[in-house]
Symmetry: C2
Subunit: 420 residues, 2 copies
């Protein structure tokens, strides 16, 4: 029998407690022993909850209880859970968490502290999809060439609706908030920060590379308009918020941003609130993992998988996928050196010479145009929607600056990256 | 350092030897020690091969060599590899295999023999996709409700071509043979037997259920015609050869057959030689796993993942997913009691009363029609293409017999199951 304390009995924590009870028979057969949720920790003992586990608001007492084998951290936040998890590991208790923010900032310190104590976090990336397992164990024969992930269900739901039903950003954001998919302050999701936390974790397992959110390129979906959708439809793209980890020689690109993705790629077929992660390995080729990225039960499914693993074998594979350092031969690519294809939306005046001027500015920056759509806006203005051949980020940024400075455009240009 | 012998240095075996060399640096970092392919066993020492491993044709010598830690069985077949693997396990050597036929027949005996010796087989199902890992570790919190898998790339390639390009079965079979996707005797693939072997393995991990190929329903893709494709297009279906494991109360359906699948399901989007497996768990909902199901390097990727796991931790999770018996509360559903929706293709004479007769025979068997297409064939004959509401297999079989006996049809009716 293993005794489990659940620190944080909210959406995910209460699902963990309930599933351990409901599916006790099959879980016990799989784990080889009984997994008993013994105590839950919450902030507010007076809140009504749908769980039968005993509750306390005294974290310290639980951490000091020698009869507890596993601490499941589901409270959220960064510094407080870091303290809690650190203390638990130092006391030799196994830890399971779903907390991507904690790991985005402290995964390497925690790896140091944990050493041979099991520390697992399958639910922290893409909720119920066992992607950590796949990357940490299933694909170990490969040099990972790239990971492209739809790792935020809220954004994917919104983008799917914008594309399929032509709904505008503001309208669909309000709907997502009403449905409970988006928070009152949605910045964390729509700004790409949640996806970035997950990407950093995957980047560590694939490449052994240490980076913090502030080190990488993060852009959200806030500026996508129906013109961009039109361009996507015209040229058979879908638009997805992607977390991308990519190796070019010994440089690792880590970036989160909306991207045009060819419609026939599997990742482009991941719609609605679902998550999907495509991984390309040098030997296996592409594998893709699809499923629910959030929700109490789906997330708890991954948390409990970790508990079962610990019950079966204690510490399994190395926490961040490497037994020995490998990442120090790889380095994080500078944001400005990223290379991809770009889409630009330029509002211009309807007069002769404007297109020539745009083309010449792009040309001077070393950028060549691949496809273009011109859409009249009325008011003697047009939108020029264009895509480029593969270019370097700093050249695009320079071109955008030039376009603004020389007043060829009548509004700040919009840019979206293209991944194909 | 771990010493590895590769028994069978053909398509997969030579990829294993080569990748262990080419990707040695990252594999060593991940495994924590060097994995050294020491000796390979083949039938014919004179064959030219593209590997640098030392070769022998003396299996016994290799099995008796105490310096070898891991035996990798990649020779194919059933009884000979069974002997080899048994002997290796009895000598305390860890075993990795990609051999689905071996496991379809002997997995429970091998589990008995292996006990605490690592015995791994990730590559046996869906090649490079880590589906064994997902099911055995990632989804342990769940009662699995169903598994639907496209697990034979040859069939999926052929069906995709038939649907996308309207190519007839015989033509595309020849093309698949020319491309090396299908064997000279293609029965094993197109008849559904290869998929059945894989399904039996998944059925064990999901449900702990013991069954042999001869116990389950296996149908191939040989009888699919352009009429069936037309019906699929009309009603927004794709046609896939599926391996299905499904729980209804305490009965487990295991079956392999072509099926109409609604086009908007993720599994319907798996095209060409690729494999895809959709798993529905009672807590996590649907997750889907996509990737290459065959090919030397892709399969070797999974074989090496198993070797790395063994290097890291010896025996990992229980071989067939359960530490303690669970399956004996579940039983295999009789083939005749399977419940699903059905499609019938009936060739009938173009005369009044025929449709009424068909409908009345179906009605008497308790079957109600959902959708229908009538297609004139010339010659005063027509094809009636129809789908039913959910029915029981034995009722459909009875209706088909009746239709033949009463000569309402002018040719043996064709039947395809519908999964939606
Ligand atoms: N929800 C999802 O779908 C999902 C998916 C993947 C990962 N995650 C991650 O899982 C974690 C939990 O998410 P959630 O949605 O379950 O959050 P939640 O519903 O807000 O629950 C948080 C729980 O922690 C308790 N708590 C917070 N601070 C505490 C403190 N200082 N002391 C004691 N208890 C404290 C809260 O107590 P009260 O109930 O008394 O307020 C509450 O029970 C987060 O790290 C999140 O990122 C969530
Ligand atoms: N190919 C794939 O894409 C794939 C995918 C998934 C799983 N698998 C499985 O992997 C296994 C190997 O497949 P494969 O395609 O690599 O087969 P293969 O190319 O036919 O290679 C078989 C190898 O085993 C050797 N061999 C056979 N019987 C032997 C014996 N009695 N003694 C010594 N050596 C013997 C052969 O020797 P010679 O070379 O001298 O003839 C050959 O090197 C099979 O179980 C298969 O089902 C294959």
């Amino acid at each position: 029998m293993l005794k489990i304390a659940i620190i944080g009995v909210g959406t995910v924590g209460s699902s963990v407690a309930n599933i351990l009870k409901e599916n006790k028979e099959i879980i016990t057969a799989r784990a080889g022993r009984e997994l008993v949720p013994t105590i839950g920790v919450v902030n507010n003992l007076n809140k009504k909850r749908d769980v039968s586990i005993e509750l306390t608001d005294d974290i310290e007492k639980v951490l000091n209880d020698d009869s507890i084998d596993i601490i499941v951290e589901l409270m959220g936040g960064v510094e407080k859970p870091y303290e809690v998890v650190k203390k638990a590991l130092e006391k030799g208790k196994a830890v399971v968490t779903a907390n991507k923010a904690l790991l985005a900032y402290h995964r390497y310190e925690l790896e140091e502290i944990a050493k041979d104590i099991p520390f697992e976090y399958e639910a922290a990336v893409a909720g119920g999809i066992p992607i950590i397992n796949a990357l940490r164990e299933g694909l170990t024969a490969n040099n990972i060439q790239s990971i492209q992930g739809i790792m935020n269900g809220t954004c994917n739901y919104m983008l799917t609706k914008m594309i399929d039903e032509g709904v505008e950003y503001e309208t669909i954001l309000k709907e997502a908030q009403d449905l409970g998919y988006a928070e009152a302050d949605p910045t964390f999701d729509v700004g790409g920060f949640d996806a970035a936390h997950k990407l950093l974790i995957l980047g560590s397992i694939a490449y052994g590379i240490d980076a913090k959110p502030e080190d990488i390129l993060i852009e959200g979906i806030e500026n996508i308009t129906s013109y961009d959708i039109e361009f996507a439809k015209e040229f058979n793209y879908s638009i997805k918020l992607l977390g991308i980890a990519k190796r070019e020689d010994d440089n690792i690109e880590l970036r989160v941003h909306p991207a045009f993705v060819p419609k026939n790629q599997m990742i482009a077929k991941v719609d609605g609130v679902m998550n999907g992660i495509s991984v390309i390995g040098d030997k296996v080729g592409e594998t893709m993992y699809y499923g629910p990225g959030a929700g109490g039960d789906a997330t708890a499914s991954a948390v409990i998988a970790n508990i079962v693993d610990i019950a079966r074998r204690g510490k399994g594979s190395p926490m961040l996928g490497f037994e020995r350092s490998y990442g120090n031969k790889l380095s994080l690519q500078n944001k400005k050196e990223i290379k991809t294809k770009y889409y630009l939306r330029l509002e211009v005046a309807d007069k002769t010479g404007v297109l020539a001027k745009v083309a010449s500015i792009l040309g001077e920056c070393g950028i060549s145009i691949e496809k273009m759509l011109q859409k009249p806006l009325g008011n003697q203005k047009s939108n020029l929607l264009l895509s480029t051949h593969s270019s370097v980020e700093k050249d695009i940024l320079k071109a955008i600056e030039e376009l603004e400075n020389t007043k060829v455009v009548t509004q700040k240009p919009a840019m979206i990256r293209i991944e194909d």
